[in-house]
Amino acid sequence: MNNHVSLRFKAIPENESFARSAIAAFCVPSDPTLETVNDIRTSVSEAVTNSIVHGYGTEKGDVLIDAEIIDDVLTVKVVDHGKGIIDIETVTQDFYTTKAEEERSGLGFTIMRTFMDSLEVESVLGAGTTVIMTKRLSNA
């Protein structure tokens, strides 16, 4: 069964739990393993946290998530219209963080890359960032 869902919510940390739970619940009818659901839940949390903490920071805005399942493969797109990323290659390196003083681990992209089947980052400075991740939901 092919399916899709879209979410739009205020970019505040209180919405992170809702966002990761909603996308996890969206995948359940495809009967993924618990580990797969948890990988998706964690990766969505990382992408949404990046949008809120780094994309918007103290600015106001919305985070959009488009998720679709086609032939048992989940594609989830997390979009913000925040400040964007200057150098995607540097920012996505393990342990790289622009906010070390806030005790950020610099592991968000590492987790997304490790837990999902694919990760793509598109960003325009001053216009926002889009993270696209895919994950096969069936064991086959």
């Binding site: 992170e16 739990s17 948890n38 590492t110």
Partner: protein
């Protein structure tokens, strides 16, 4: 998110309950520092039996507490993480400095 602590001789057991993400990080950091600064112990054990979710925000927060304790020669350990949290901790390499017991 709830946090409580129990002191047993040289060990401080900190019990984490609920979910750790950006929405609770600030408050949790303050509570943990209160516990960690108020006692003289050799070991701090973070018990995660009732912790249902943690992302990399939690890793940063734990590393921050570890660095503070390290200056006082206090060791930190992790106990009973669920599979989701265990995977995050493994990928982050945290077990090399904060062993799983």
């Amino acid at each position: 998110m709830k946090v409580s602590a129990k002191l047993n001789k040289d060990n401080l057991y900190v019990f984490l309950e609920g979910e750790i993400d950006q929405s609770v990080a600030g408050e949790l950091r303050i509570k943990l520092d209160e516990y960690l600064e108020s006692v003289k112990v050799k070991n701090v054990i973070l018990n995660m039996r009732l912790l249902t979710f943690m992302d990399s925000t939690g890793v940063g927060l734990i590393m921050g507490r570890y660095k503070k304790l390290q200056q006082k020669n206090i060791a930190m350990f992790i106990n009973e993480p669920n599979k989701q949290i265990d995977k995050v901790l493994k990928v982050s390499g945290l077990y090399s400095i904060i062993p799983l017991i």
